[in-house]
């Protein structure tokens, strides 16, 4: 009965991963988004529920659970209900191949599927159907228009996304996510074959941002034009499921970027003196900010916190490397650090760039990213072939 134990294990892992997605990506993700957005706009963000507003999204979830489900009279009820579930499940399935770290000989991943990154892009492509179905089933002009816009945008950026993934698969020579991380032991892929690694990373991140419909590529949801686009008619928990799927996917993209370009769970392999220099520089800046009184400025406080955290990391790393420990910190710490750094980057982009127009958006995908991605593949392939 080997398969029965496997199914039981799989069910348990599903529960764990779903809880992780609901708590870490959806709830904490929304909290982070609101808090960081607040900081960038020099306001406080959520503050009242729990310490620093940490429990705000939990309160929101409880509120959403008590909201009435409104189904528009003219909607196709079955598809209307199935669409958010499909989007959420597609977001969940992305995470099957994401490795969180490595403890001893065990890699912390649900399954290291042989065709890992291909699997990832296949699952990411399923979201489009859920969005299109939801937009259509609402029988609302804005929703359908938003659904069509979202679908045409997502399919346009699926190709550059795949090209970014392929670049990594080519350099690593494998499609397995664990294999890709292991292949970066010497050098992270963002630095390999310079400058083409950076180019591939930029292609991937741009396409990933568009794929999850985030600013500056948020036309489908443009709240000022389309009243939230394809989920205009969704209320309460169904709306929350769409959000869950979207945040799960956004975090999965950040996680995949960390795995493919930033070495995943691997520790940065820097000499002790560099850690020390970085740490001292960090301490210096923090002290300068506090002494000069600039730290009392609201907008500088989050920067101060981030700076203090990274300074602490540098100092810990310095002492760890001095003591000859390797790795100094458990690997999941690094994975999450990199993933959250990329999530922070996504939120930062949101408040830096204005929304693109539809024609600009499509031009960027088909006329810039696609040729650039293909050329990047060919040139890197050529270099690798020559180097042999």
């Amino acid at each position: 009965m080997a398969w029965l134990t496997e199914i039981l294990k799989a069910v348990l892992l599903t529960l764990v991963l779903f809880t992780y997605l609901a708590v870490v990506t959806a709830m904490f993700g929304v909290y982070l988004e609101r808090k960081i957005s607040g900081w960038i706009q020099a306001r406080l963000g959520p503050k009242h529920v729990g310490p620093q507003g940490l429990l705000q999204t939990i309160a929101d979830t409880v509120k959403l659970l008590q909201k009435e489900h409104i189904t528009p009279r003219q909607a196709d009820v079955l598809i209307f209900n199935a669409a958010p579930i499909m989007v959420a499940v597609a977001g969940l399935l992305d995470w099957v191949v994401i490795p969180f770290g490595r403890l001893g000989d065990r890699v912390l991943v649900v399954r290291d599927i042989n065709i890992g990154v291909l699997y990832f892009s296949a699952m990411a492509s399923l979201t489009v159907i859920g969005i299109l179905a939801g937009g259509w089933a609402s029988n609302n002009k804005y929703a359908l228009l938003g659904g069509l816009r979202a679908a045409s945008q997502m399919v346009s950026y699926e190709i550059p996304l795949a090209l970014g993934i392929l670049w990594v698969a080519m350099v690593a020579g494998t499609l397995s996510t664990v294999g890709i991380v292991e292949a970066q032991r010497g050098l992270w892929f963002i630095f390999s074959v310079p400058p083409f690694g950076v180019l591939a990373a930029v292609t991937f991140l741009t396409a990933a941002t568009a794929e999850v419909n985030r600013v500056p590529f948020d036309l489908p949801e443009a709240e000022s034009e389309l009243v939230a686009g394809y989920f205009a008619e969704y209320t309460g928990m169904r709306f929350a499921l769409f959000q869950l799927g979207e945040y799960a996917e956004a975090f999965a993209m950040a996680a995949l970027a960390a795995i493919m370009f930033l070495g995943g769970w691997l520790e940065p392999n820097l000499p002790a003196w560099l850690w020390l220099t970085l740490g001292i520089a960090g301490v210096f800046v923090v002290v300068l900010l506090v002494v000069s009184g600039a730290a009392r400025e609201l907008i500088l406080q989050p920067i101060l916190i981030l700076l203090a955290l990274s300074t602490a990391l540098c100092v810990i790393m310095f002492f760890g490397v001095q003591a000859g420990r390797s790795p100094v910190l458990p690997s999941p710490v690094w994975f999450f650090t990199k993933m959250f750094a990329l999530v922070f980057f996504l939120i930062w982009m949101r408040w830096t760039y204005p929304r693109l127009r539809l024609d600009q958006l499509l031009n960027l995908s088909w006329k810039v990213l696609l040729p650039a991605g293909l050329l990047n593949l060919l040139i890197t392939g050529f270099l690798i072939t020559v180097a042999r």
């Binding site: 008590q66 969940l92 099957v96 080519m170 008619e233 929350a240 499921l241 088909w366 696609l370």
Partner: protein
Amino acid sequence: MPKVIVDWLYVAVFAFVGTIMAALPLGIVWLLAPRADLPQKTLTYESGVIPFGQAWAQFNVRYYLFALIFVVFDVEVIYLYPWAVVFRQLGAFAFFEMVIFLSILLVGLAYAWRKGALEWA
């Protein structure tokens, strides 16, 4: 059991249990949330304006053109995956095969570009 089967058994269980987990909050809402059917409430939302006609009308054909180009290039990408994994072992020959493959497709992209199929206007 072979690794492939176990891998995808997990995927199947994830899809199945994930669906149940996602449907669960909808069930909780059914238990907790109030229900009051008012004709105004289930009206299609169009920013307060009384909706006219069906939403299920026609849209611009350009959406189709982009979907079309996407399908062709998505198919092209599936050939790149096996190539990316093995071209190192097969050497220069495999590389130039892919160059030919891609240049034929780039002709298609150039054609679409030239004919304005990539414009949104």
